[in-house]
Amino acid sequence: MLRPLFECLVGLHPRAFRRRFAPEMLSIFDHASGKRAALSLVGDAFISLIRQWVLRPGFWREPSPAEQPQMASAGARSFYIIENYRPSGVALLHGATLSLAVFLTITLAFIRTRGSQVQPWLPRIEAEKSEIPPAAQKAFRSTPVEFCLGRYVADGLHPATVDVTIEENQLYLTYPGSTKTALSPCSGSTFKDSGSSGCQISFSKFDRGKFQQLDIGQSGRHLTAFRLHE
């Protein structure tokens, strides 16, 4: 009477477990001697049934042939190799087509955006709008022109201070109470008067985030002005 019950309990186990171990479990039951032993095996099968369904969901699925433990013959293998694996012809064709499509897409994208600094598939980052003329920006190359703005003071200068400002996309050298002199970039951080004065200025000594020195050359005269810290 207990054997059918045990068989029933074993039969209720997950398929993967049942297919693998049910004959052996029944074999063990058949070897059990005495009703007490048989009862304990029934109890064990019942607990096992609950355990398998509740605690072993990962074991419900039957392992694929590749996952199944290797039958040991001469010796148990402890590692597996895939050197015998060969992808199918269809898979190779799909891979080649996909690679070609990706290659052509990238190539076309490069061709179409040649000369543009921002690639079309990258999100555009809008630069903060600046009032600085592009020519001046270019002249400074690595250092933004904003860093030269401010008031400079020099001993031999009359008046003693000079302001560097930007107005309407134009860099100006402004003497307080006097007219503004528009500056046009020469090279690097050097500018010259756009008018006929021949004044040439260059910014130097970049420190604390700003240019600290302004060299003014005019009519063979050379003056050095220093940034006035507010």
Partner: protein
């Protein structure tokens, strides 16, 4: 050995199963009998617990299924063998238990009274 670090400590059942298989290739019923001998009858393992742990061990590649043996009188029996990975796991567990026992002995040691 490092790969087994996260899988220790082993459960009592799995430890005894690996220990039983460390000596010989055995079928399930023989494993149960061996465990009974190991523990002098104090720990009786049922087939449900046995095959649950064997399944676990085989998934971890600690135990290999040798299949049926022609010379066995019961054709339903399958034999199992401890793999090198299983040996490593068992060795790691034994080493861990040795440390536990050593520590326990130190803690239980009663200091000897000093002679005057």
């Amino acid at each position: 050995m490092r790969g087994n670090d996260k899988q220790t400590p082993l459960s009592l059942a799995l430890f005894h199963i690996l220990m039983a298989l460390a000596g010989h290739d055995l079928h399930g019923y023989a494993i149960m009998q061996d465990i009974s001998r190991q523990t002098e009858g104090q720990y009786a393992l049922g087939p449900g617990t046995l095959y649950d742990n064997l399944q676990k061990a085989m998934r971890r590649r600690w135990v290999a299924d040798l299949g049926h043996r022609a010379d066995d009188d019961d054709p339903r029996r399958r034999y199992y063998r401890l793999t090198s990975l299983g040996t490593s796991a068992l060795t790691a567990e034994v080493s861990r238990l040795e440390n536990v026992v050593r520590d326990a002995k130190v803690r239980l040691r009663i200091p000897k009274p000093r002679r005057a």
